[in-house]
Amino acid sequence: MALIKWKSGYDLDPLEWFTDFRSGLDRLFERSVGPWGAVKTGLLDGAWVPGVDVYEDADKIVVKMDVPGIPKGDIELSVQGDTLLIRGEKKREEEVNEENCHRLERSYGKFQRAVRLPAPVNSDKISASCRDGVLEVTLPKREEVKPRRIEISG
């Protein structure tokens, strides 16, 4: 496996990746992630990368991530500056081995995603829930960056 330059904060600019992502759609989900995937996401094992969406409105940012079969206890969330770091482990919950296996498509292992947030957030008010295998993180924006109407006087 190629050596990956370790960038601090697992630098990942979502917009930059978006452009590459459009052309590399299939490669993102390859089981054996090539150098491209590894460099961009700072993978630990190179095994599995869960898909992520980022949305925003005037008050908040919402990040959604597919985490099928992962109990919330196996997911760790933290915010550092303008980056949301999601890490965890997807563990095998069934006994599939060479003798009894017909298909083995599901990926497992440690994962880590660094999501660059489009606006500063109030880290004390972040909430997250995990339902039906989807992690949803709600990050309220800091008051000073919320859009405000400015009155024109005179």
Partner: protein
């Protein structure tokens, strides 16, 4: 072959299939699908699993989107050893577990020769 791809607006869910002495167990990843939006049909020799999930949150702007499609669909052919009436489905944490019991092996009938 990687089948976890989006064909049009649908996702082909990834599955594990394992065989045990009395059953075949299939687990499929369908994150975001609630029980009410899951549909499993057996038609002849085919079982179809389908599910849908709600699209992006209303009123919010998309900054970045990887999870595009909102529907899952995949079909499987059932072998003759599967008991069509013995299919059980469980959905938890976005993973569907289908347990397909096998037809009980019939003990050969001894025919008396008179």
């Amino acid at each position: 072959m990687d089948e976890r791809m989006e064909v049009g607006k649908e996702i082909v869910p990834v599955v594990n299939i394992r065989e045990e002495p009395d059953r075949v167990v299939l687990t499929a990843e369908m994150p975001g699908v609630e029980k009410e939006k899951l549909d499993i049909r057996v038609e002849g020799d085919e079982v179809t699993i389908e599910g849908s999930r709600s699209p992006s949150p209303a009123g919010m702007r998309e900054i970045y989107r990887e999870r595009r499609a909102d529907a899952y669909r995949r079909r499987f052919v059932l072998g003759p050893s599967i008991d069509r009436s013995g299919i059980d489905a469980q959905l938890a944490e976005g993973v569907l577990t289908l347990t397909l019991r096998k037809v009980k092996a019939q003990t050969p009938k001894k025919i008396k020769i008179s």
